[in-house]
Amino acid sequence: MNNLDKLQHAFVTVMKIDPALVVDSFAYGEHREWDSLAHMALVAELEQAFGLMLDTEEIIAMSSVAEVRRILGVHGITF
């Protein structure tokens, strides 16, 4: 599974959404599946999948798929 697959899998696992929804514009708070509880579950899923620990500021900044990708990039995860 490549990194993009892992990212998509995390979203789908947590939010039970169609994988086709996991695009850069998919944003926190704009879909009922991505609420605050799902956000923390997503963080846990991403941390497990990529073997890292995110900072609180990063968690708060993860407001869209594009932002998630950017922040994971800071940790050396490339897509």
């Binding site: 963080v43 620990m53 900072d55």
Partner: protein, 257 residues
């Protein structure tokens, strides 16, 4: 009903983080948790004192079970670095003992804004900072974890001249009760201890008269020791308390206001 198995107190393979661990109650907690098999991560601001404290624990246990990590828990960036190190080196956390704090008294007319900020940062905000990261690390494991926050009998009963300290420690109880509800589904237990008069450096400055007045309020007629508090921490860190969450446990010898 059978007696509890000794294994319920066995902390082998567990990773416990104790803040304010260079002296007093925190150091006693580190000794006690290490004595029951835990790997103990000891955090405090003063690196030299902390290193000496960790060395003392390792000497007693005759092995490298304690690790010193310098950290100011009132500083969010320092807490972030602490937990990044915990994650990097251990990948898990089973128990957080949020013990670091400060006691600074002043009559209400002499309380400064700076005093309020300092006391609440050390005693209250620090718990929130640590619990944020600790709960996420604990949630990674199937067995969850235990957060033990040090409140105070002053936070429960109040005391003249200690409005700021009392407020900061009462807030700890509100945080604990909220987190207990929020984190229970992840099998993370969150409890508070409310020590009474404990013989530590925090109480060493009391005059003989003040000390006598404090002792007169204790039904057991003696001050507590840091080990008395550490034993309660051990209970909350162990599987003996696996169904206990959201509680405030007094460790005060029957102290009354």
């Amino acid at each position: 009903m059978s007696a509890p198995s000794p294994s319920l107190l066995d902390l082998q393979g567990k990773v416990c983080l104790v803040t304010g661990a260079s002296r007093g109650i925190g150091l006693a907690c580190a000794h006690t948790l290490a004595a029951h098999g835990a790997t103990v991560l000891m955090a405090a601001r003063q690196a030299d004192a902390l290193q000496a404290a960790a060395a003392a624990v390792n000497e007693v246990q005759q092995g490298p079970c304690a690790v010193a990590i310098a950290c100011d828990v009132a500083d969010p960036a320092s807490v972030r670095d602490l937990f990044q190190q915990v994650f990097r080196d251990h990948r898990r956390l089973d128990t957080l003992v949020a013990n670091a704090g400060t006691m600074q008294d002043a009559p209400i007319g002499m309380v400064t804004a700076e005093l309020i900020d300092r006391v609440f940062a050390s005693n209250t905000a620090s718990l929130l900072y640590c619990a944020q990261y600790a709960s996420r690390l604990m949630a990674r494991g199937a067995s969850g974890g235990s957060i033990v926050a040090l409140s105070s009998i002053i936070g429960v009963q109040g005391h003249a001249g200690q409005a700021v300290y009392a407020g900061s420690k009462a807030a700890v109880i509100g945080i604990v009760k909220s987190l207990a509800q929020e984190l229970a589904s992840a099998q993370i237990r969150v409890n508070a201890l409310a020590p009474g008069f404990i013989d530590t450096e925090l109480t060493a400055h009391l005059s003989p008269a003040q000390r006598e007045r404090a002792l007169a309020r204790i039904a057991m007629q003696r001050p507590g020791s840091p080990a008395d508090v550490a034993h309660a921490v051990l209970f909350l860190a162990s599987d003996l308390s696996r169904y206990v969450t959201g509680q405030v446990i007094g460790v005060d010898g029957g102290m009354v206001a």
